[in-house]
């Protein structure tokens, strides 16, 4: 015969199962703790109406602001003339951090044991947020596109710290030092909007932290598509202008 304790445990198990089987995510359930960690697993798209865009004029120190504004202006003028400047997208390079969180294409978030993984469909960009681990010193991280991210849950908010983003991986043409630190607070609102409050700290280039917010909405029943930058016919010429490779009619494309 079933003891009262076993019966109670079974009932609790059924309740927990019932609660999880009604979440909107179509994914296998990620481990959920009782600490109020929200289920953010699934596909999301940028909700521009729920975002606080980065100012076109970041709080850079004057000499860096001058450089950023000149680059932005030159790119704008070249585009207006129909002769766009080549940029890293021309080379088929991924955006890296924090630009990938701008989610030009949908993103997918996966919650697994000890890790939250974020995939951006464009260029199949992947960042791994290692949970409950100490952050490394900047010198101990090899510089990369996404940096080294650690995070922990503070109630329902995922607090993330990222270092080690390469100096030539820039957001909105703003230069940064190797010591740049990206702090994020990722939380799910009652309205279903997921927000990523970003704070960029880089005392070498910034007068004060640079803050902005990316908002996202769930895309029900959407699985990210593959993205391989396979035949990029755009290239940078010797003047740094974006040009287009025209294939011969006899052998068009690949």
């Amino acid at each position: 015969m079933m003891s009262a304790k076993t019966a109670l445990l079974a009932a609790a198990g059924i309740l927990v199962f019932a609660a999880f089987s009604h979440t909107p995510s179509s994914y296998a359930q990620a481990p959920q703790s009782a600490a109020g960690i929200p289920d953010i697993t699934g596909s999301w798209e940028r909700a521009r109406d729920a975002s606080i865009p980065a100012q076109s004029q970041p709080p850079l120190k004057p000499q860096f602001l001058k450089e950023q504004q000149a680059k932005t202006q030159a790119a704008r003028e070249a585009s207006a003339k129909g002769t766009p400047l080549a940029d890293r997208a021309t080379m088929c390079l991924p955006e890296g951090m924090p630009a990938m969180m701008g989610a030009t294409f949908p993103i997918e978030i996966l919650q697994s044991k000890g890790q939250v993984t974020i995939i951006e469909e464009a260029f199949t960009q992947v960042r791994r947020i290692l949970l409950d681990q100490p952050q490394k010193a900047v010198d101990d991280v090899e510089p990369g596109f996404y940096g080294h991210s650690v995070g922990h849950w503070e109630g329902g908010t995922l607090v993330v710290d990222t270092v080690g983003v390469r100096e030539n991986v820039v957001f909105q043409n703003a230069p940064h030092s190797a010591d740049m630190r990206i702090k994020e607070r990722i939380s799910l609102g009652a309205n279903g909007i997921l927000r990523d409050d970003v704070t960029i700290e880089d005392p070498a280039t910034l007068e004060k932290p640079w803050t902005f917010t990316f908002g996202y909405r769930r895309i029900p029943n959407y699985s990210l598509l593959e993205y391989v930058c396979e035949d990029n016919r755009e290239f940078a010429d010797e003047k740094g202008q974006q040009k287009f490779r025209v294939d011969t009619p006899a052998n068009p494309g690949k």
Partner: protein, 145 residues
Amino acid sequence: MIFEKLTMRGSLCLAVVLLMAATAAEAHHSFAMYDHTRTLTLKGTVTKFQWTNPHAYLEIDVRDTKGAVKHYTLEGTSINMMQRIGWRSNMIRFGDSIKVVMAPVTSGEAVGLLLEVTLANGETKALGVPAENTFKRTPEQEQRP
């Protein structure tokens, strides 16, 4: 007065939309090398429909009234974006007779940005070019090649 206010609000909205479109476009490949002031409508035969990223490409042969054939290379958008608005790789096949609306490249080459395609079955589909409304359409009868 109200009208003036509305117009001002309208232009502000347009400016915001353009700015957003520009920001979105900056993250990817620029379409600024295409003429935003006119379009060409071409009827031709497909020699290749290339389903690739960063962009799809459509290669067509266009025969003029004297029978001479000119080859055009047409750049589409990302196949991911195309799939999200209903495109499939098998919608255009080698040898299909199709009609396209494209923005010609400013360099004068036989290259264009594909804005819309009328498929062999008569269905017209847009490519989902970002800030598509910034490409001014030229009525077919007013076009110069």
